[in-house]
C-alpha cells in the first residue's frame, strides 16, 4: 500500500525538494501552500502523514495542528526555520509528533518519514497501545506481568524506570517533551523533576542501550525531549 503524504509548505523550492524526495521513495503526495488548503486536503484526502511548515502565509502552523488534532490522530511532522527550541516544544505539546529544523538534508527528511511510517504500520499490525504486550525489535514489555525483556533476557527495572519506559512505549515513535514526561510521571514540571528525569533516563538507558554512542531505542532530542524508536518484529 502506498503511503499518502500531505506536504504543507509555502516556499516553492523547498516544496519541490520535499515532493521530489518523497516521490523517489514511492510515496504518494498531496501539496498545500497554505493553512486553509492544508486543513481542506487533510479532511478530504485523509493522508497518512502530514509534513507541516510552521510559517504559513495565512495562519500560524500551530493553528493547523490544533484544528487537525480535533478530529484526527494522523502523524504530523513539523518543519520550522526558527532555531529556537520553544517553537518545537509548543508544536509538540500541541500534538505534533516530530519536527525538522531548516536547513535539513534529504536523508534526514526521509529518515523521519521512515520512522513515522514504521510507527504507523506498527500500530496497524500490533495495535500495541491496547495489547498486553509491547514488542519493539528486541525489546518486549509485558504490560500484564510488568516485566521487560531485551533480546529474551529479563531486565530489572525500578518502578520509576518502568513507568518512564511505559510512557515512552505508549507513545512510541513520537517525540515527547521534557515537560510532558515530567507532568505525566510526577504531575509537576519543576527543575528538580527535570533533574530526576535525567537521572532515571540515564539509568534506564544503561539497562536497555548497550551501545551509548549509537542509540537504538531511546533517542535524545537536545533541549526538547525523548523518543522511543520503533522497529519491526525481529
Amino acid at each position: 500500500m502506498k503511503r499518502k503524504l500531505l506536504v504543507v509548505e509555502d516556499d516553492a523550492s523547498v516544496r519541490n525538494l520535499i515532493t521530489t524526495a518523497i516521490q523517489m521513495q514511492d510515496y504518494e503526495n498531496y501539496v498545500a501552500v497554505n493553512g486553509n488548503q492544508a486543513i481542506m486536503l487533510a479532511m478530504s484526502k485523509q493522508p497518512d502523514i502530514m509534513l507541516l511548515d510552521l510559517g504559513l502565509p495565512d495562519m500560524d502552523g500551530m493553528e493547523v495542528i490544533k484544528k487537525v488534532r480535533s478530529w484526527s490522530r494522523m502523524p504530523i511532522i513539523v518543519i520550522t526555520a526558527r532555531s529556537d527550541d520553544t517553537d518545537k516544544i509548543s508544536a509538540l505539546d500541541a500534538g505534533a509528533d516530530d519536527y525538522l529544523t531548516k536547513p535539513f538534508s534529504v536523508d534526514e527528511l526521509l529518515a523521519r518519514i521512515r520512522v513515522t511510517v514504521r510507527r504507523l504500520s506498527y500500530y496497524e499490525t500490533e495495535n500495541a497501545a491496547e495489547g498486553a504486550k509491547f514488542v519493539d525489535g528486541g525489546l518486549v514489555i509485558d504490560y500484564v506481568a510488568r516485566c521487560v525483556t531485551l533480546n529474551d533476557e529479563e531486565i530489572h527495572l525500578t518502578p520509576l524506570e518502568y513507568k518512564l519506559l511505559y510512557l515512552l512505549a505508549q507513545n512510541a515513535g513520537k517525540v515527547l517533551t521534557h515537560t510532558y514526561i515530567t507532568q505525566k510521571i510526577w504531575g509537576t514540571s519543576f527543575e528538580s523533576d527535570l533533574i530526576s528525569l535525567r537521572v532515571f533516563m540515564a539509568s534506564l538507558r544503561k539497562k536497555i542501550e548497550p551501545d551509548k554512542e549509537s542509540v537504538k531505542y531511546i533517542q535524545t532530542h537536545i533541549g526538547v525531549g525523548y523518543r522511543l524508536l520503533t522497529y519491526p518484529k525481529e
Binding site: 540515564a202 551509548k212 554512542e213
Partner: protein
C-alpha cells in the same frame, strides 16, 4: 541629635510637658518652704518676695515661657496669701505690695521671655547645626558612591536621620519603576500603611510631576506617604517617599538636599552611559569585523553553489550522470559549510541577546556528548570517534544547545584540521563538583605560539584548510559559551602528538 528627636517625636514632647509642670510645682514648693524659713529667722517680707522672683527666673530657665508666666501669677497670689499682712488672705494692708508685685512680675516675665527666646534660638541653631552636619556628611559620602545602590543607601540613611520617618525609595530604571526599597526608622516594625494602588498612583504622579510642590503633593491624591521626585531639569531619577507621623512635617533642608541627590544620580547616570557607549563601540567594532569577514567568506561557497547548480540546470548540457553527481556533491558540501556557519552565527546572536543570562537547565552530560558525536559521525560519515564516559550519571547545569554547539565545533575542527582517519576521542571525567570534558586528536597538534591566540576571533591556523576558509569564529565561540557557563576553555598537547581541548562544567548536586 537630641533636639532633632524632640522636634519630630510628638510622644516625647507630651512627656516633656509633664516633667516641666513637675519642675515648676517643685520650685513653687521650694519657694514656700524658703519663705517660711526666712520668716522664721525674722527676715522682712520683701526678701521673701525676692525669693519668689528668683523662683520665676529659675522656672523660666528650666521650662517653657507660658508655664513660667503662669507660675509667676500663681506665685504672686501665693505670696499674697501666705506672707503679706494680713496672712492667709488675698487682702493686702500695704498699698504698695500688689503694685510692686505686679511691676516685678512684669519684669520677671520679660526676663523669662528673653531667656526663653535665647534658649529657643540656641536650640534651633543646634538643630540646624545637626542637620547641616548630616547633610555635610551625606554630601561627602555621595561623592564616594560607586553604584546607584550605594547612593540609595547613603540617601536612605540621611533621610532617616533628617525626617525621622521610614523612607521608601523607587528608582526610575530604564524598564520603568525599579524595585521598591524600604528603609524603616529605628524601632519601627513596618510601614504605617501598605503600598497599594493609591500609593502607587501618588508615586507615579510624583515621578511625572514637573514642579516640585512636595509638601502638598499628598493633597492631590489622598496618599498616606509623601512622595517627592528626585530630579534634575531634564530627567527624573526616582521617587523618594516618607512615612511620617501626622504631626510632623518634613524639614525644609530635605528640599535643598534633594537637588544634590539628583546631581549624584545624574553623575551616576552619565558614567553608566559612558560605560555603555564604550561597550557599544567595542561591539560595533566586533560586528563590523564579523560582517567584513562573513561577506568575504560567504562569496566563495555561494559562487560554488550557484555555479554548480547553474551548470546542472542549463538546457542541453552535455554532462554525464557522473559529472552531474560530482557537481551536486560540491553543492552539497558548500551548503553544509554554510549551514554550520549559520549555526555558529545564530549561537553568537543568542549569546549576544541573552548577555550573561543564558537559559540553563539540568542536563545529562552523557546525553549531550553522545548526541553530538552521533551527529558529527552522520554528518561527516566517519567512524573514528571514540567515547569514554565517566561511568557515573553526571547532571550539569547548562544550555544543551550551546554545549552541543561547542562539541560540534571541537569535533569538526579535529576532523577538518587533520588527515582523514585521524583518531579522535572524547572523554568525560567526573570530579567532586564538576565534570571535565576532553576532545583529543592524534593529529599534528597546535604550535605553542598559537595556543593563546587560537581562541581569539578571526584567528585561523593556516592555509591547510580547503581554500583557506573559516573565519575563526568557531573556537572563539566555544570559549565564549564555556565562559558564559562559568568554565574555562583550554588547549594543550596530547603526547606523542595531537591536541586536547578541555572544558569544565559545574555539576548539579543530586
Amino acid at each position: 541629635m537630641k533636639f532633632l528627636e524632640r522636634y519630630i517625636n510628638y510622644d516625647k514632647v507630651v512627656k516633656k510637658n509633664t516633667t516641666q509642670w513637675g519642675v515648676t510645682l517643685g520650685i513653687m514648693n521650694l519657694e514656700l518652704f524658703m519663705g517660711y524659713v526666712f520668716r522664721f529667722i525674722g527676715m522682712r517680707e520683701i526678701h521673701i518676695f525676692i525669693i519668689y522672683e528668683l523662683g520665676i527666673i529659675a522656672t523660666a530657665f528650666l521650662t517653657g515661657s507660658y508655664i513660667c508666666s503662669m507660675s509667676g501669677v500663681l506665685g504672686l497670689f501665693i505670696f499674697n496669701y501666705f506672707f503679706s499682712e494680713p496672712k492667709f488672705s488675698f487682702h493686702s494692708d500695704a498699698m504698695g505690695y500688689p503694685l510692686t508685685g505686679i511691676i516685678l512680675s512684669i519684669a520677671t516675665m520679660i526676663i523669662a521671655k528673653l531667656v526663653k527666646t535665647n534658649q529657643k534660638h540656641q536650640e534651633g541653631k543646634a538643630l540646624v547645626d545637626a542637620r547641616r552636619q548630616v547633610l555635610l556628611e551625606t554630601t561627602q559620602q555621595l561623592l564616594m558612591t560607586k553604584t546607584k545602590q550605594d547612593i540609595v543607601e547613603v540617601v536612605a540613611d540621611c533621610m532617616l536621620r533628617l525626617s525621622g520617618g521610614s523612607v521608601i525609595i523607587f528608582l526610575n530604571e530604564k524598564e520603568g519603576l525599579g524595585e521598591l526599597q524600604i528603609f524603616l526608622r529605628e524601632g519601627a516594625q513596618g510601614l504605617n500603611f501598605e503600598i497599594d494602588d493609591v500609593e502607587m498612583r501618588a508615586i507615579h504622579n510624583a515621578l511625572h510631576e514637573e514642579d516640585i510642590e512636595w509638601n502638598n503633593s499628598n493633597n492631590r491624591i489622598d496618599s498616606k506617604g509623601i512622595y517627592i521626585p528626585i530630579r534634575t531639569t531634564d530627567r527624573c531619577y526616582g521617587v523618594i517617599g516618607f512615612d511620617l507621623d501626622n504631626e510632623v512635617f518634613l524639614p525644609k533642608s530635605v528640599e535643598i538636599f534633594l537637588s544634590s541627590l539628583a546631581l549624584a544620580f545624574e553623575r551616576e547616570y552619565y558614567s553608566e552611559q559612558r560605560a555603555e557607549q564604550i561597550i557599544q563601540m567595542k561591539k560595533q567594532k566586533l560586528r563590523s569585523d564579523l560582517l567584513r569577514s562573513i561577506s568575504h567568506d560567504l562569496r566563495t561557497p555561494l559562487t560554488g553553489i550557484s555555479g554548480n547548480a547553474a551548470l546542472i540546470a542549463k538546457k542541453n548540457n552535455s554532462l554525464s550522470i557522473e559529472q552531474a553527481r560530482e557537481l551536486g556533491k560540491n553543492i552539497w558540501k558548500e551548503s553544509m559549510w554554510l549551514t554550520s556557519m549559520v549555526e555558529n552565527l545564530l549561537s553568537i546572536t543568542k549569546l549576544d541577546d541573552a548577555k550573561a543570562n543564558i537559559k540553563m537547565n539540568p542536563e545529562s552530560i552523557d546525553e549531550i556528548l553522545c548526541f553530538s558525536i552521533q551527529k558529527v559521525k552522520e554528518f561527516y560519515q566517519i567512524q573514528d570517534i571514540t567515547y569514554e564516559s565517566s561511568g557515573e550519571i553526571d547532571i550539569v547545569l547548562c544550555n544543551s544547545q550551546l554545549i552541543a554547539q561547542v562539541m560540534h565545533n571541537l569535533l569538526e575542527n579535529a576532523i577538518k584540521h587533520n588527515e582523514p582517519e585521524t583518531k579522535i576521542s572524547v572523554s568525560v571525567n567526573s570530579l567532586n563538583d564538576r565534570v571535565v570534558v576532553q576532545v583529543a586528536d592524534e593529529g599534528k597538534g597546535i604550535p605553542d605560539n598559537l595556543k593563546d591566540e587560537i581562541f581569539e576571533m578571526f584567528c585561523t591556523l593556516d592555509s591547510r584548510l580547503e581554500s583557506g576558509r573559516g573565519f575563526g569564529i568557531g573556537l572563539s565561540l566555544c570559549k565564549t559559551i564555556i565562559e558564559a557557563h562559568g568554565g574555562e576553555m583550554k588547549v594543550r598537547d596530547a603526547p606523542p602528538h595531537g591536541a586536547v581541548f578541555e572544558f569544565e562544567l559545574k555539576k548539579v548536586r543530586l
